[in-house]
Symmetry: C2
Subunit: 339 residues, 2 copies
């Protein structure tokens, strides 16, 4: 059998309690015993059983992430892998596991959170918040600690790690306007998502009366479709800002197929930078929202929350715009029509 704490204790000539405390640091242990215990554990190849630990200590040392994989979209860009990698870099230090569950419907999602609340996880992080999100009340009932991503205001005591998405949107619009663009369109994500909504709101606010907003769904096909719509308008936009890079890439391809030169005839930019953006023809201007850094912040925040440390919502590092060729140069003096 695999060794237990009792084996280690016997080997080290101490009691189980002492071994336990050596590892938890919950009370001072003499350097000598500590060394003996470590040696014994090493020798026997002992690893604490996490279930026993959770059962006795009411701590699972795991945090949960439930993904509602809706229209097979949402996981298309590189936000997600980067984000979890950021979280892990913090979690790993503290030996905390990430438990992930992808669910298809509301019932499964509730079930997932219930099971996490009942001994699977000490807390969860909530992604892709909606304006009025049922999960908030649900988790409150479950008394499951949580940290939200990008919720504009705190909800029922849950804190959030918040990205200022108005700032890059405004900066980008200013940049384009300085170059003579007056018809700047925005292809958003689904506006029920807070992140998409906030970007769209910032957009409308900044461009004012000339707002040209199309609600997209973050997929390439849809990005293409909406780009086609926008470009066939009588007074078509000379610049389009997309809420993610997948739609932007598809938009750029559409424009080029239809004879437009980017950026001379049309300027393009998207949210969520990734390596591919820099390697397109032309390279695509995009907004780096620092998913890794935000993952780290969320993990830290959740750990603090679980520990019961009073915590306030925090702002993540401001997004930075990677200006590339797709927005270089001036707005076209002659707006070429698209066929």
């Amino acid at each position: 059998m695999t060794p237990t704490i009792a084996d280690v204790a016997r080997e080290a000539g101490v009691t189980k309690g002492t071994v336990s405390h050596v590892y938890s640091g919950h009370r001072p242990i003499s350097t000598q015993t500590k060394a003996r215990v470590h040696a014994a554990a090493e020798k026997l190849g002992w690893v604490p059983n996490s279930n026993a630990r959770a059962l006795a200590g009411h701590r699972t040392n795991a945090i949960g992430l439930v993904l509602h994989r809706d229209p097979s979209a949402l996981v298309v860009d590189t936000f997600f892998p980067n984000f979890i990698s950021g979280m892990q870099s913090v979690l790993a230090e503290q030996q905390i596991m990430l438990i992930m569950q992808v669910v298809g419907d509301r019932a499964a999602e509730e079930q997932a959170y219930r099971s996490m609340a009942h001994g699977r996880a000490d807390g969860v992080v909530l992604l892709d918040m909606h304006l009025r999100d049922w999960r908030i009340g649900f988790l409150q009932k479950l008394k499951l600690p949580a940290v939200l991503m990008d919720m504009p205001q705190d909800q029922l005591g849950f804190t959030t790690v918040r990205l200022n998405s108005a700032q890059p949107m405004e900066q980008l619009i200013d940049y384009l306007q300085e170059r003579g663009h007056t018809r700047i369109a925005h292809v958003s994500g689904p506006l029920t998502y807070v992140h998409a909504y906030e970007r769209a709101k910032a957009y409308v606010h900044r461009v004012g009366g000339s707002a040209l907003l199309r609600e997209g769904d973050f997929t390439a096909g849809n990005g293409r479709h909406l780009t086609a719509q926008l470009l066939s308008m009588p007074d078509r936009p000379t610049a389009i800002i997309y809420s993610n890079n997948v739609m932007a890439i598809a938009g750029q391809a559409y424009a080029q197929e239809h004879g437009l030169v980017v950026p001379d005839d049309l300027a393009l930019a998207g949210f969520e930078d990734n390596e591919i953006c820099a390697h397109l023809n032309p390279p695509l201007t995009s907004i780096d929202t620092d998913p890794i850094g935000r993952g780290r912040l969320v993990a830290k925040q959740l750990i603090r929350t679980i520990a019961g440390i009073p915590t306030e919502s925090v702002a993540s590092r401001d997004a930075t715009i990677k200006f590339r060729e797709s927005t270089a140069g001036q707005a076209p003096s002659v707006v070429r029509e698209v066929h």
Copy 2:
């Protein structure tokens, strides 16, 4: 406090053992008691504590996935989210959780597997196999059930879910050769990875003496770099097959920047289809390796393995090539030089 099995037992007027068996089905229970137990559980809102369950029953109902995130690449394409989504669609049915851990180095990786073996997970799936992979011996020592992805042959009793990557490679080469291409290059992934190696092997095998192989690292920057190298050769290739779409996309951009028309001057194709490929200019031919289906297969295989059902390795559905414009038409009669 949250209700325990004892509360349910009391409420239903039975013993804990009976409640347990009602849920496990490990022994016959009269319809009446069964109903009473269910009613009691429902009334109290009882959810079995998974830690207690794992501790007593030696089953965690969780499976693990450890990702060694090496060069910040490897998670760039869409294989991964699709793959786990496929796994989850099987796991969810059986109430099995996926435990994921991203690690940075070998020590952390070993630690992760140890902790999984010691009560965190009933088994693991291994991705990104190397030709001689230390994990195999390691897991064997831990006695941790596992299923491998795409290992050419079974290892120490571990079975694998295997994709035939020679088939699409050969089909693609044939397709290109039929269109007159005689200089077909391949930009592979790191050849220490079995999947990259197998593709490269199939490539070399099929093109024979005219093989023009460059070992890449799956990143866009590197894809660009190697494309540049290949295109500056005196007798440059007229077609390039990349081992993932990220490198292919970067390659296409490079070629276009340097005045080549795709596919007239250069044909391009990549492994791992995703939505973006279809929405580039021109749309990129790519190989759909069905990550979702493979995720499902691996999950099923692992569940069987954990249950102790004798299991053989299985082949996943053959990859399908999505032929798009980037490989349409004939090989150029005049090979334009690149500057």
